[in-house]
Symmetry: C2
Subunit: 348 residues, 2 copies
Amino acid sequence: MERITIAHGAGGTIMANMIKNYILKHLGGSSAEVPLEALDDSAVVDGIVLKSDSHAVKPLFFPGGDIGRLAVAGTVNDIAMIGAKPLALTCGMVLEEGLPLTDLDKILGSMEQTCKEAGVYVVTGDTKVIENSGFGGCVINTSGIGKRTAALDHNIAEVKKHRQFSSRWLLDSNLRAGDKLIVSGTVGDHGVTILSAQEGYNFGSNIKSDVTPLNNLTLKLLEVGGIVAMKDPTRGGLSNSLNEWSTKSDVGLMIHELNVPLRGDVKAACEMLGIDPFEIGNEGKVLIGVVPQKAEEVLATLQETKEGKKAAIIGEATDNFSEVVLETVVGGKRIMAPPVGDPIPRIC
Amino acid sequence: MERITIAHGAGGTIMANMIKNYILKHLGGSSAEVPLEALDDSAVVDGIVLKSDSHAVKPLFFPGGDIGRLAVAGTVNDIAMIGAKPLALTCGMVLEEGLPLTDLDKILGSMEQTCKEAGVYVVTGDTKVIENSGFGGCVINTSGIGKRTAALDHNIAEVKKHRQFSSRWLLDSNLRAGDKLIVSGTVGDHGVTILSAQEGYNFGSNIKSDVTPLNNLTLKLLEVGGIVAMKDPTRGGLSNSLNEWSTKSDVGLMIHELNVPLRGDVKAACEMLGIDPFEIGNEGKVLIGVVPQKAEEVLATLQETKEGKKAAIIGEATDNFSEVVLETVVGGKRIMAPPVGDPIPRIC
C-alpha cells in the first residue's frame, strides 16, 4: 500500500505529482479568475485574493524567528506575490496537549509583532487541541484575503509600455523571453538555519532565518512598475520556483550562478552537508520577473531597502531552450532540474 | 508551568478563558465590521465574510461522515450562520507520514462530494507532511469567504416589520426578549457517534453523525425572513451556544427540555455514559433566533426539508432573568451553566 512520506510535503516533483493525482482529481473546477488549477501563490475569486498556508516548522523557535512570525509572513507574502495588498488574516491553531502556555504566549506575541510590521490584522480563528503525541507542539494555519490596488494597475501599465501583457495579476505563467530575473537577497539562509536547529549543528556563524513580511517591499516595487511575476522561493528553494515559472510560462530561464547572492557560511554549510543551496527554502526573499527596460530601476529600488540590500539580477528568460539552465561559476552549463523535494523536512 | 490540556480545545469556559487571556491579548484590534473580538461564527471585513476552521476529528472515518465532509461542512456552515452565501474555500492539510494514499483519496473524494452539495469550490490550498507520531493521520484547515445576498436583506426587512434591529448580520448579540428559539433537529447525534467510534462502544443502534452543509437550508429560511441570529451548536453543544447567545445579547433564555428533539438511543447512551446530551457537539444542526411573529412560518419551512424534519421551538428570550434556564421534564427549573468543555475530545 502506498503511503504518505515526508517527500509528499517537500515542495518538489513528488509533491507536485500528489497534488495532480489526488488533490486536483477531486477538488477545483471553479470558474475563479485564478483557480486552484493554476497552482499559483494565491487564488482570485470575485476580485478577492485568497490564500491558505499551514505551518508545521520544527522547532517552533529558531534563530531569526518562530512559527508565529512564519505563519503571518508566509500568508502575507503569498498574497503580496500575486500583486495584491493583504487585507486580513485568519488563524487556525492545532495545539498539542502539554505545550507550555508561555510558549503559546510567545508565539502569539510574535504573530502580533509580525502583523504590525505587515499592517494586517487577524480577524477570525479557531483552536483545536490534540493529545500529546510528540508531533511538535503546534501547527498553525493562516489564511488571508487581499485586494487589488492602484499600484498593481500602475505596474501593469508600465509593463504594457514595453511588451504585450494580458494578465491582470502577477502569475507564474506571465514570463516571456527577454524578461530579467531578480532575487531580493541571499538564498538558503532559512533552510540552513532550520536544519542547524533541528540537528544541533553549529557552523560557527550567525546564520539566521530571513523570515519577514514582504508586502511593504513589493508595494514599493509595483510603484516602480514593469514587474510581470513575483514568487517567494520557499520549499524546494530557488530551483523549484524557477522550474515552476519555466514550465507554466513555457519559456527557458538562464541563471548565472556567479550572480546568485549566497552567504559564504551558508555555502560552506551546504557543501559540508552535501545539499544544494538552490534547492532549500527561503522565507523573506522574493524572485522577480521584470521587463528588461525596468530591471535596473527595480533593482536599485530593492537595494535601497533593508530586505533588498543584496538583490541582484540573476538571469533572464529566453526562447533558445525550454528548461532552467545554470551557467556555473566555471562557465559550464547544466540543466537545473526541479528538485525531487526540499532536502530539509518541516522547513515551514 | 501551566500547559495546554485537551479542555483548552473543548469549546467551554476553559477554552473561552484561553481565547481571552492569550489570543485576544495579542491578536485582533482591527476595525473590521465584525472583528475577532466579536468571537462570532465568522468575521466581516470590507464586506467580505471570512472564516477559518481547523479539523482534528478522531477517527478520520466515522458513521455518517469523515474528516473531509466535516471540514467542508464546518466552514460552509459558519459562513452561512452569519447570513452569508459561501463563495469559495481553501484547504490546508497537515498529513502524517504513513497515511495510506487510499485514505487521502477517500477524504478528498468526500470533500468533493460535500462541496457539490454546498455549491462551493476549493480554490487554493497547501499541504504539509509531518513525521509519524500517531497524532491521527491528518488535520485539515478549511477557510472560506462569503458574501451578502438579497435573501439576507429581505430577512432583515422582515425582522424590522416587527421590532427594532440595527445589525447588518446575524450575530450572537442580536437576541432580544420575546424572540423564539428553534433547533433544526435532534441534538447530540454527532457527539455520541464520535465517542462510540473512539471507544468502540456499540449502543445496538444506528446512531450516525448529522454532518452536512446547511447553507441551502439557511438560504430558504432567510427567504422566509424574521431571523435575528443563527448558530451551529458544535463543541460544547446546545448549552455552550445558548450561553454564548445569552451573554453576548445580555438576555435570559428559557429552554423547555421536553421540546428539545432528542433521539431515544442518544438519550440512553448519554445516560449510560453520564454525559449531558446538551453539552456535546452537533454538526448538521442549526439553532435559530426569530421574531415571534415569524416563528411558526420558519418552523414550518424547516419541517419541510430533509435536514429540518424534526425541528422544534425549544424556548424564548426573556428579560425576566439573565441566564439560560432549563425548565426540566418534570417541571422544575435549573440554570443551564456553560459547560467547562465538551466531554468528548476531538469531536471536530
